[in-house]
Amino acid sequence: MIPVANRMAFLERRDRRLLSAAAAGGLIVAWEALGRSGIIRPVFLPPPLAVLEEGVRMVASGEIFGHLAASLFRIVAGFTLGSLAGICAGVALGFFQTAEAVGTPIINALFPIPKIALLPLLILWLGIEEQSKVAVIALGVFFPMVINTYTGVRHVDPVLVRAAVSLGAGRRSVIRKVILPGALPMIFAGFKLGAGTSLLLLVAAEIINARRGLGAMINSAGDLMQTTKLMVGLVVLSLLGLASAWALAALERRLLPWKDL
């Protein structure tokens, strides 16, 4: 008699959450220990508790909020402008053949330019203050948004469009009630790409030229060898990235309830 074994056993996935938590905790403890023992000098890598302490100090003194507010304004303004323009352009490109014929080569030509390379030009056009920083973030968000929206519009199931027309829908209704919701999952994928891009461009623009903002803070802390302060900036950026991902996921669950995310 030969019993049948589960031959798929080696492919089964088990719950590893405990291991994840232990690994993260272990890394922080080891890092702290290395710092205290003097093996790693704090000026190169300050231990986590020192970073936490500095963070608490900067919150208590209010020093961090000026930088955070400046950065948040730039990123929210740039992201909003860029994504709205990207969605509109993407729908137009996907739905109207004239727009597609005119717009596609222009977008294909501009898309490969690293957007940070446009900052000097934008400073020339818009000045050195907020507008050029907002504009570079908006441009960085615009391109993933326009491409994702366009792809989403083009991939809406044609049978849904036929169903809508069969039930009496005209052009406006088809765009509003079929094309837009049909493209929404791809639009959300664009939001996620754009969120990463906007954080990158924010920091780059602020390092190049800003008195306030997280990028400026990190840059000047580095110049002054204030490594602990620099680390606080990095932690805040990480939290900002996590928060935006979390907010987008929450919004997605709300707006795309049919997706069972």
């Binding site: 199931d157 049978v159 849904l160 036929r162 169903a163 809508a164 027309v165 069969s166 039930l167 009496g168 829908a169 005209g170 209704s173 009630k177 079929v178 919701p181 049909g182 929404l184 795309l256 309830p257 049919w258 069972d260």
Partner: protein
């Protein structure tokens, strides 16, 4: 109201730009309260004809018109799709409401009307579900309710049960008989299944392929109301066999090409 299809031909271009004749010289009519089923092998253009009647595709030659329908009155037709074509982002109730929205009906009234049609198709209590939460048979009930809700002169059904498993299909055939008894809609019904056509229809249009031509238009001499037991009756079996003999050779051809 009477649908008239007059000498309709359809030629389209394939991917290589070569003309393909899908339909050639089709003439047929659907009388008030009549169910006409179109059967034929793959590639006989039966779905093409349905799309033309729905106004979703232009004819190459010929005419399609509705006699005795008033301009700006009830919609001429509404379609039920093989793929269900429910809007995945709309709940069951909002799917059924879609056409009524387009007609400009007030929200309160259209929700009321949609509920009545969901009752009619045997789907009460699922209003707030999303399509992906339903089985295939239930989804198609929504598709039928959605098309009936706009009160079209003619219901177009494009292989509505082909995506269902055999058991769901058998149950839905009987459901369609029941729904027809309640609504008495004119229906143009496309199907692969000869027994389904004979069970549901008053007349069966048999198409041949490449190009699609009307080969025979056979009345179904079986009185209504019909039910499951109809499928065991002598006239049912005779007619299904007669139709099968008509298309058997071409069905085999289609199989060999695919």
């Amino acid at each position: 109201m009477r649908l008239v299809v007059e000498d309709v031909s359809k030629t389209y271009r394939d991917r290589n730009g070569r003309p393909v004749e899908a339909l050639a010289g089709i003439s047929l009519a659907v009388e008030p309260q009549e169910v006409v089923a179109i059967v034929g092998p793959s590639g006989c253009g039966k779905s093409t004809l349905l799309n033309i009647v729905a106004g979703l595709m232009p004819v190459s030659a010929g005419r399609v018109f509705f006699e005795g329908a008033a301009e700006g009155g009830r919609p001429l037709s509404a379609m039920v799709f093989q793929e269900f074509a429910l809007f995945p982002w709309r709940t069951v109730l909002d799917n059924v409401c879609f056409g009524l929205e387009e007609q400009g009906m007030a929200a309160q009234r259209r929700r009321q009307a949609a509920r009545e049609f969901l009752d009619l198709v045997g789907l009460p209590g699922f209003e707030e579900k999303f399509p992906h939460q339903l089985s295939g048979g239930m989804r198609q009930r929504v598709g039928i309710a959605r098309a009936l809700a706009v009160d079209p002169h003619l219901l177009l059904m494009d292989e509505p049960l082909s995506a269902l498993d055999a058991q769901a299909r058998a149950l839905m055939q009987v459901e369609l008989l029941r729904i027809w008894e309640r609504t008495r809609k004119s229906i143009l019904y496309v199907t692969h299944s000869i027994p389904e056509a004979v069970l549901l229809a008053d007349r069966v249009a048999v198409f041949s392929r490449r190009p699609g031509r009307l080969r025979a238009l056979l009345p179904v001499p079986i009185p209504r109301p019909r039910d499951e037991a109809t499928q065991a009756s002598r006239p049912f079996l005779d007619l299904t066999d007669e139709i099968w003999q008509l298309i058997k050779a071409e069905a085999a051809e289609a199989l060999a090409e695919a």
